[in-house]
Structure formats: C-alpha cells, structure tokens
Amino acid sequence: MSSTEAQKAQELAGINRTGVVTAPLLSREMVEGAASAPPSSEGGPQQLMLRRAQYISEGFTVGSLPPPPVSLEGVLEGAARLVGTTTGASLLADKLSERLGFERTGTRLYDALINKCEALGESTPGPTLAELREIRDEELRHFHLLHAAITSLGGDPTVMSPCADTGMVASLGLLQVLTDPRTTLPQCLQAILTAELTDNDGWAMLIDLADGLGHDEFVGRFRQALANEEKHLASVRGWLTAMLREQAKA
C-alpha cells in the first residue's frame, strides 16, 4: 500500500459525524421529539407506492428502437435483413446496443481507474498499471466487436436503445465513484466489481439470446468476450479481496 493509501485508511477512523452515537445528547432529543409528534396522515410507505403505480399504469416507456434504416435516397432497404422486424430481432438489437454502451462506458471507467493508479502509484497487493491497461483495451475491443455485429445486422451502432439508456443511468453512480479524486483504490475497485458482475451476466444473456435466434456468426466471438470478462471479474475480485485483507492487517 502506498503512503497516501495508508493515510487515507487511517482517516477512516476519523471524525465522522453522521451517526446518532456521535452526539448522544442531541440524538436523545431528536428521538424524543420524533416519538412525541404523530404523523399528519394515516398509512405507510404503501401510499407512496400506490401513487407511483398510477404513473406506471399509464404505460409510458423510456423510448423505443429506431425505425428500419432508410437509405440516403429514401428507399427502404430489403426488409429481411433489417433489425427490428420481429420481436426477437428487436430484443437482440436492444441488448446489443446495451452491451455496446456498457463496454464503451466501461472503457472510460477503466480510463478513470488507470488515471487514479497513475496518480497514486501502484499498490501491492493490487492491480498493476499494465494489467489495468490490458483490461481497458479489452473493453474497447468488445465495444468494437459489438459495433461490427450491429453494423453487420444492418443496424445503427450509434443508436442509444432503451436498454442502453437504462444501462447508462445505472452506470452513473459507478462513474461518480471512479472520477472522484477523493475515492481510494479499493473504493474504486468495489464500484468496478459491480460493473464486471453486470458485464459477465450481460454477455451470458446476450450469447443465450443470439444463440436462440440462430446468430451463430456472433456466438463464438461473444463467448470469447465472456471468457475475457470472467477473467476481469476474477482479477478485480482478487485484487479487492487482497487489498481488504491487507487493510485489515494494518
């Protein structure tokens, strides 16, 4: 562990003020005050859920897939090769776009992690810069693989599909952790672990989907990508476990 890392770890036992035990007299007053004031209305959390359900039942979605591509001359291309003409093909297009977005954002997540490791210095235990760069480049290759797959299906790899959109929303918290200059390497690896767990299952489900729809041309390359992701997951899990053990010893 670098000296900066050690210093940050020490600060974990610091002056945190968020809990009730830190201010026993004030918190006793808080508890007494809350206990003595009845709620202004009957019911519980289900009221909130009922209200939310009204909006759910309206049936709006975050969006849809694009219409079939039209050539620059305005002539509709052959329907048979279009993505989006059947439910299965639409689902595949949506999930391909989701994975593409995830791999592209994943590349930036690793850029941020590399940035942090460069600034703090490599730590032992922990990843080397070379190992992180290798994973980063693999994420980029996966993005390119998906880009090519979507293009070969006649789709538009620049589209943000509904699943790509919700995937991006889910990733925003991870980006916040990775790009925050104050976060430690283990905190960043914890966030990356979330990404890798999602990525592994994402690839497995994509393979299942492509296989079921008879897209044999993708399955082999997607399996290779999954094998890479399994290695990423094992590495991240290993680094984080070892770093936490080391921290616990200190």
């Binding site: 994943g106 090519a148 790899p157 589209v159 790009t179």
Partner: protein, 394 residues
C-alpha cells in the same frame, strides 16, 4: 396572420388552476421525442423562471403591485413546474447541458436571422458563437468521462465543432455591456427577442451553477465553473440591450407578451401532441395574464397598452437546424472581440480584457483541457473510424 393579442383574451387568471397530478405529468422521451421538443421545453422553462425572477424584483421595488404580482407569479410558478418536469430523469445533467447549448445555438440563430436591428443581430451572432463552442466542450466531456455520444441528444441538427474558443471568451465587465434599444423606436420584435434571449441565458447560468457541484470529476467541475462564468457574462450582455428607462409595468407587459409570443411559436411547431396541448393551454393562460396586466397598466399608468404592445404577435422563432447560418457566422466572425459596446477584430481587443483573461486562465483552461485534440465522430471518439452510420444530412 399573427395572433391579435388585444382581441384574444385567453383564460382569466382566476381560472388558471393546477393539481399536483396535473403539474407532474409523464415526461417526454429522451430517445423518441424530437430534439426540438426538448429545446422548446428548456426554453419555455427558462422564460417562466425569468417571469418569476422579474416579478420578485418588481415586487421588492413596488409595494402597490405586490398582490397582483403575487397572483400572476403563483400561476407562473406552476407553469414552470409543469414545463420543466416534462424533462425525463434518464436525461442526465451532462445530457441536459448538451440540450441547453442546443437551445442557445438554434434559438439564438433564429433570433439573429429575424432581428430587424442590425446592431442587435450582431450582438446575437456574437453570443451565438460562444455558446456554439460550449457545446463542443461539453460534448468532449460527455465522450471522455462517460463514454457518451452527444449526438444522441442533438440528433444531428447542430454541429459539434469549436466556435470562438471558450478560453478567450472571458472579458472585463466593461466589455460585456452593449448599447440598448430605444423603447420609443424599437420594433416590437426587437423587444420580444431581447427578453427571450436574456431569460434563456440567465436560466442556463443558473442551471450550470446548480448542477456543477453534482459532478465528481474535478475537470467537469472546473468546466462548469468556467462556462457558468461565461453565461454570467452573457446575461450581463443581454440584459444591457433592454432599455432601462422602460417603467416596471412596461417591462411586465413585455414579459407577458414575450411569453405569449413564445408559447404561440411552440404550439405552432410542436410535434408531440401531448406537449402541444401544454403549449396551447399555456398560450391561453399567458393571454389571460397579459390582459390582467393590461388592465393594471391602464389603471396605474393611465396609458393605453397599445403604446407598447404590437397589435399582432410577429412570426415566431423557428425551431429547426441553422447549420449553414452558424457555419457562415463562424467563418466570418469567430475572431470578433468586444471593446466596450462595440465589436472589433481580435487585434483591437482592450488590454483590460486581455489582462482579466490571462489572470483567470493562469493555472490552465478547463475548456482547453477537456477538449484537447477532440474531434467528434458518430459513436464517440472511441468508435472505429470507418463504418460510421448514416446521418440525417444537413
């Protein structure tokens, strides 16, 4: 034929009512709605927020107007809520920022093209090239931090290329002030334009000031700090073009007319039927508010509102891509700088602005850092260079 604002009385103020359920409707779709639906939502929210801002300032200076101002302002508060809440939660702060800059580009371009006063048109073109550059910087941030493609938001309507570099937009306050129009001789459209763009830029400033700290990335935080500073300059510029000798009630009338004018334009061009219904409803509300203020104007100032308002609302802002106009302006005017209220070549920029800028950028320029070597292409700069998807064309 434009809208006759003296004949059309809209919905009376007392009938302009809301419920929370009505105010918080299902939002628009980031993916499916046309980018100009989003542009209109952002613009109209900015205009309602300006109505609130103006109304509070007016109330603080005019005891006798406080109650009528409060009555109108309460409705405007709820209008702003309904409009702004049409933005969806999956539109992240940086994506919303990209949309704000698209508003600044396409709306200001339309205004610059329509503006009858040549000096005012120059002011708008000057500001336009600066906001145009902001879009490029934020697009680079979105790409390089989040792996996102700004064109998912812009939908190919607006170019992502450098404008007047943000790093050189910082200038001394003495070079931000402009000449103002004359309330006696200016065309009604000149007045409507000025209040519209001032409101829009002020809202952009306030938005960046609020969301800048939401970002963890220190370069993002610096970029928002830098561009918020320019939006402060822009607000300074655009409020200075309005005749300060207009009375409070004159200004209130122009604010209401400006809102009606813009809701009319939105209603005419909206492609989402649900949002179009909102614009139509609020056009009727604004006409009701306008007539409420006309009556006050007659009572308090003993003047005819026709002295300050046009009989008919002019042709509205056009919600479309202004790519060619922006490119032509960029080619011809990117090197313009401000010297007092006038525009000069960069070699004639006053020393005070050069010194101010040098000091501010002394520890580096966030906008230069974030976009170092950046060239947008479909699917982000990480995308393979070949095999780019077909675009919508210019």
């Amino acid at each position: 034929m434009g809208l006759d604002i003296f004949k059309e009385k809209g919905v009376p103020l007392e009938k302009q009512q809301f419920t929370w359920r009505d105010m918080v409707q299902a939002p628009t779709s980031k993916l499916d709605d046309d980018a100009f639906t989003r542009v209109r939502i952002i613009l109209m929210n900015g205009l309602e927020v300006e109505a609130n801002r103006f109304s509070h300032a007016c109330a603080r200076m005019n005891r006798e107007l406080q109650l009528p101002l409060a009555r109108v302002r309460r409705v405007e508060q709820h209008q702003a809520t309904l409009v702004n809440w049409l933005l969806p939660a999956d539109l992240s702060p940086i994506e919303t920022t990209l949309a704000y800059e698209q508003v600044a580009i396409e709306v200001t371009a339309s205004v610059a093209l329509r503006e009858p006063d040549p000096y005012m048109a120059q002011v708008y073109r000057f500001g336009l090239l600066e906001d145009f550059d902001h879009l490029y910087r934020f697009a680079a941030l979105y790409d390089r931090v989040a792996g996102g493609d700004a064109n998912n938001i812009l939908q190919s309507y607006s170019d992502i290329i450098p404008g007047r570099p943000t790093a050189v937009e910082h200038r001394d306050p003495a070079d931000d002030l402009r000449e103002h129009y004359s309330k006696a001789t200016a065309a009604p459209l000149t007045k409507l334009h000025a209040v519209t763009i001032m409101a829009s830029e002020n809202q952009t400033h306030d938005y960046y000031m609020n969301i800048g700290p939401l970002f963890a990335d220190p370069v993002a935080r610096q970029l928002y700090a830098e561009i918020a500073s320019i939006e402060e300059q822009h607000t300074t510029q655009y409020e200075s073009i309005i005749d300060p000798s207009e009375t409070w009630l004159e200004k209130w009338l122009m604010h209401e007319a400006m809102e009606a004018y813009n809701y009319m334009g939105c209603a005419q061009q909206e492609t989402n039927p649900r949002v179009k219904a909102v614009w139509e409803r609020f056009l009727d509300y604004e006409l009701g508010q306008l007539h409420f203020v006309m009556e006050l104007f007659k009572q308090v100032e003993q003047r005819d509102p026709a002295e300050v308002l046009p009989a008919e609302l002019p042709e509205p802002i056009e919600y479309k891509s202004h790519r060619e106009f922006v490119r032509e302006t960029l080619a011809a005017e990117v090197d313009l700088r401000a010297a007092g209220t006038q525009f000069v070549g960069k070699e004639d920029e006053p020393e005070r602005s050069l010194a101010y800028r040098a000091q501010l950028n002394a520890q580096g320029s966030p906008s230069e850092t974030v976009a170092a070597g950046y060239r947008w292409r479909p699917g982000t700069e990480l995308a393979p260079a070949e095999g780019a998807a077909q675009g919508k064309g210019a």
